[in-house]
Subunit: 200 residues, 2 copies
DNA sequence: AGTTTTCGAAACGCGACCGTTGCGTATCGT
DNA sequence: ACGATACGCAACGGTCGCGTTTCGAAAACT
């Protein structure tokens, strides 16, 4: 937690409503595609209906605010059922697809894809907190499939993962009102990929 | 061309050196990861060793400058040999990989991935000029493979393309000093994908 | 009741960049 | 030579966001 040390509970306590409004405003704007460098404390304060003082009392700078806000995100972590590989992979990609639609969940890709260069510290924390756990879960699905014999024993796990995840990100990133993501894309991707992944 | 109408050749002609320096500075900064919204005319002028006047005399605003600068990019357009699908696909992905390394060529992905939301007009032109021709060339490689019988006749071209291109972008975007792109990634990707793509 | 802390609001001085203008110089056509 | 235009440079007034300070009111504690 990078929040500034709060003082002893002498006087008026800090408003939880204000804090939530600040974090919500921050996440909403990031989800809408506002870059961290474009994100201004003033805009957050206005959007949250809060004085700038109330923000600076809690966070030392913009990056700390963003880090803490992102940490409060409870993002949908796919829980693969484990019955068969195809279902697990499709479930995983479907969660990714839903993330492209909902405002809050767009924070993931927006941060992961846009801020790596400029805010390496933020990116590193986000990578450890959000990205790596998901990549590891994805790898586990593939490895379990290899263990059960569903997938080839010599499958290149990293390559296979990047093919599926990359294709999904490719579509969601390019998507928009003009280029929507097909609803059946996860199935089509997984079925096409599994033709080569499956054990013969 | 969005350049401001130049006057008749009465007085001193405009300096080609200055113009090239401006465009070079613009492209360099975009390649380095500077967002269009972050790109300031002042910074371009300083970097190019040029007065702001010299820029404003040629372009009405920042977006026009960026559009014209990008239009001068003569980017490597893969020319698939057409002998076999595997070689063509690998060639294509290798060009993409080289684009991740060289400064100038990073403009492609930086514009394509980061500016779609905020500069739809710029993105549309860039898409028509750069992205779509490459996608079409990629589709042609796959379609030719289907015609010659190398690939399955029922291959889902769009899905196949997004798997390969998406995986490549996924790696190049995530790449950096800490996470370099493996040199043999194109081969590994294509070989893994072709297992499912090939006709039996 | 009195103390302490937080609240939202407003204003501060600072710096970055905007797009424009004027300056003195340089380089073209006539 | 001379007029026209472009050059780099510096300054303009204006906007925005920074991080800080001050203010009166509100909300907890002793």
């Amino acid at each position: 937690m990078t929040t500034i040390q709060e003082s002893a509970g002498r006087g008026r306590p800090r408003s939880e409503r204000a804090e939530k409004a600040i974090v919500d405003a921050t996440l909403d704007m990031i989800g809408e595609g506002v870059t961290v460098s474009e994100l201004s404390i003033e805009a957050v304060a206005n959007r949250a209906g809060v004085g700038k003082t109330t923000i600076y009392r809690r966070w030392a700078n913009k990056e700390d605010l963003v880090v803490d806000s992102l940490a409060t995100l409870r993002l949908p972590m796919p829980e693969p059922g484990g019955t068969d590989v195809r279902a697990d992979l499709i479930e995983f990609l479907k969660v990714m697809r839903s993330e492209s639609g909902e405002l809050r969940n767009r924070c993931i890709t927006n941060i992961a894809l846009n801020e790596a260069d400029r805010y390496p510290d933020l990116y590193r924390r986000f990578r450890e907190l959000v990205i790596e756990p998901r990549r590891e879960a994805f790898r586990q699905v593939l490895r379990r499939g290899m263990a059960t014999g569903e997938l080839r024993p010599d499958l290149d796990v990293e390559v296979a993962m990047s093919m599926l995840v990359g294709a999904m990100l490719f579509h969601t990133k390019m998507s928009g009102p003009a280029y929507p993501v097909p609803g059946d894309l996860p199935e089509r991707l997984v079925d096409e990929a599994l033709r080569g992944f499956r054990a013969s």
